[in-house]
Symmetry: C2
Subunit: 199 residues, 2 copies
């Protein structure tokens, strides 16, 4: 992981590029557009990024850093039982998407869908990010099983995978519906039914 | 719905365009590329489609027709109990994706993710397609509840929505993983756990 505070121009390009790409897609966004939004010259872009693909790969690292930091903030909050921590993570996202009128979707999921058949480097990086998220969520479910004696309906890491996958499909549907229904259904089925959570 | 047999040029453009768009995305595919793949002149394209957006909207109708015909073929197969019919529908998809090395994803889900924030006509059409799929799956689950006395863990149409959403996220993940794991997890959690199916 890179330190985002080390240089502001690089981060500015990533932030502005991300805003456009999240709405329009990676292939549908030109470098020129990103430069204009960040108000930096072409030379700055090529100082930090070798090519548009290199920019995309570094953008995935940037998303990973944001995602892990949010995930860890919730999952390491030992003041809550493990399943409540996980649920609060998704609740924060639900609030975020509500404030954004259910636009944008998950930046990782969007690029995964767009690029996994087109660029093997993107695919392998995304595979690894989702695997890491699975391990973090799986560890939390394991803790629920061991400490809270929660009876899980299967292997903790397989349930973690199912949760990650359902979440991404629910986000896609929320983007289409432009209301919280799909995310509320996700919350009910995953937490009330599958994990029998009483939060 | 339009009859696909009425004219072959229109269908050829839709089929060839679909093949490219499924891999590269809608915005990332040019009309010229579709014309070349279909081996038809520009005039043919504009005879059937007013614009690229009009082509995209007619492509969604075409996908809807394919999807409903496959869905109905399984769900109307009264030789199987309702939940087995639904499961066989997803099994056919799993086999299809295996044969295609888990590339492409769901054409409707891909365009939903790409276009729902960019074009309101696309979004409303996709919202309607997913709603129709929900009603078809929900009706089948209702039948399972009424005829087979299957105890559902919630409202049939809400479960149908959850199934549709989980499926799309699982397809995205399978595209990243390039193996059937996410689709097998979907099958296990939805059918063995949620619907308690013994197929």
């Amino acid at each position: 992981m890179t330190s985002m505070s080390k240089n502001n121009t690089r981060e500015l390009i990533l932030v502005k590029g991300s805003e456009i790409i999240r709405k329009k897609g990676f292939n549908n966004t030109g470098i020129q557009e990103i430069l204009q939004a960040a108000d930096v010259p072409k030379g700055s872009f090529y100082f930090y990024f070798k090519s548009k693909d290199d920019f995309g790969l570094q953008l995935l690292d940037y998303y990973q850093e944001l995602m892990f930091s949010m995930l860890d903030r919730h999952l390491d909050n030992k003041s809550l039982p493990p399943v409540d921590r996980l649920r609060s993570f998704f609740k924060e996202f639900l609030t975020f998407y509500e404030h954004n009128d259910f636009t944008g979707g998950c930046p990782l999921g969007n690029i995964a869908q767009e690029m996994s058949d087109l660029n093997e480097q993107f695919r392998l990086k995304l595979k690894n990010v989702f695997d890491q998220i699975k391990y973090k969520i799986g560890d939390t479910l394991k803790e629920a099983q061991t400490n809270d004696k929660i009876s899980l309906p299967g292997d903790a890491y397989t349930i973690a995978d199912f949760i990650i996958n359902c979440w991404h499909g629910s986000l896609m549907r929320a983007k289409v519906m432009k209301n919280p229904q799909a995310l509320n259904i996700f919350d009910t089925f995953i937490f009330t039914l599958l994990l029998n959570n009483k939060l």
